[in-house]
Symmetry: C2
Subunit: 327 residues, 2 copies
Amino acid sequence: MTIHEKDSSSTLKVLLIGSGAVGGFYGAHLAKAGAEVTLLCRSDHAVVQRQGIVITSIDPVTKAEKTLTFHPHRVIRHSDEYQEQADVILVALKALPEIDLPALLAPALPTNHPRILLLQNGIGVESPVANAFPHHEILSGLAFVCLNRVAPGTIHHLGYGRLTIGRYPMGSSPMAEQLAQRFQVSGIPVQISSQILRDRWQKLVWNAPFNPLSVLGQGATTHDILQCPATAQLAAEIMSEVIAIAQAEGYTLGPELIQKNLNDTERMMPYRTSMLMDYQSHRPMEIEAILGQPLRVAGARGVTAPRMATLYALLQLLNRPSTVPQP
Amino acid sequence: MTIHEKDSSSTLKVLLIGSGAVGGFYGAHLAKAGAEVTLLCRSDHAVVQRQGIVITSIDPVTKAEKTLTFHPHRVIRHSDEYQEQADVILVALKALPEIDLPALLAPALPTNHPRILLLQNGIGVESPVANAFPHHEILSGLAFVCLNRVAPGTIHHLGYGRLTIGRYPMGSSPMAEQLAQRFQVSGIPVQISSQILRDRWQKLVWNAPFNPLSVLGQGATTHDILQCPATAQLAAEIMSEVIAIAQAEGYTLGPELIQKNLNDTERMMPYRTSMLMDYQSHRPMEIEAILGQPLRVAGARGVTAPRMATLYALLQLLNRPSTVPQP
């Protein structure tokens, strides 16, 4: 299936920043639902300009494949090339300290004050953007999806896909409703949340153990981690640490989440986390969004999280210049 | 220099168990000092029988080499081949749970009740032997040495060499004095300790952080660990955990040990720990002696050591069958 977008004044106009797996996948589904999606992408510009972004969904059991090709309305290289009036700017970049998101967004922000949807992992991703653009409505989103960018402009979708979207820092938003509707039309289940920050901590309950353990376990899948009794217990203890930090921030997450996360992960296909895929592909890992920022919150709230701190230190050691990940 | 031992009734008779780096190095120095050293070794038997054990000391700065060749009095394959009256049995095997030391020693124990010197790393290595042979004097020793077994019967000595020897569980021993004298004659400085268990905890202050971090940091040297501020801090915190467990066991180690260990390590040449060398050579790691046993003591004493527990779990995850260490 191929989607070519046409310009239309009644169309939802989206500026998508990020041509990685998450950006390509969700941008494609907005386009499929009729949105006019302009893609800002740098490194993959030529490939995406030529072929679009090809998303192959692979059924984890039957291995049956289904392909969706996403041809953006326009593909631009720099945000100052965008002179249109976007309704929403969708940021689907990795949450990395070296990316200055306000500086990247500033030249692209039209005068109509589009909403900014941050579809990123981890804790603390919204505040730099919210502080830089106090007059813009910020939406925050979480993607529960298993994707792998196998080549520029080529994405494998290996499972799941649902989104949680809410207004930052809390509350309701007509734009969140409108986006949810678009996504749902294209087959992406969306949960609207009035407590998106709480939901970020809840997602972190899974990410904080499994992402670092997969890397430090040198390619450990979720099943490897759970089949080793010591790391299964460690994963549960790290989940407790996340819940304690969230509690100190005012977000109550029930302790039953721990067993639920372990059970759900046990039932999943053995899964290589996004941090592991980043590490093995020599891409930067989201260490700060997943561990550093939560640990800074813990420090400010007087909560100790020694297991998360240990993983955080070890990942920083792995990031030393001389380390070459195993193939 | 080559040493051929001659039988003599006045000679110190030693049965050396273990032809690895530690056994070869210290056995060679006892032989150099005139002891009659019979070597029990299995896998390297043929090579050692033919060529002896060749120890090349390499000056860490000048790279100047000095070679010592150790021809044991006899090289035997099984402990029941030993029918002599040893004065001392020197155990220089890795401290691994899969090695049943009492079963290995039993057939070799002559009727004269030789002393048993355990030259091994970690915590809890003596009690299985002491329990199995209550009528034998057990000596316990710690080697501060940088060795690398580069091939069967071939050892590189990269620095240091001193020993601490004491009677288990404490006190004095004429045999410890006699061994110290022999070693000192051959150039190995020896400290006699009346508190060898305390000394084991003191050595663990270094081993518990640096050995696991070097492996989990995927080949990190001591300098890599100290140059990364996060792991330098983590190393200090793990040292604190060891000191707290030792304190609960009744061994007081001053907190100034932490800074001293960090400073001394900073001044050393960048060093690959023995656990790292074991891991990269696909040999079993001393995870239990260095982390598991101390953590069991901590549990029994009601002390928490979450950072050590995190490293312990991660090393167990690395030990899963599917993991292949990077070359």
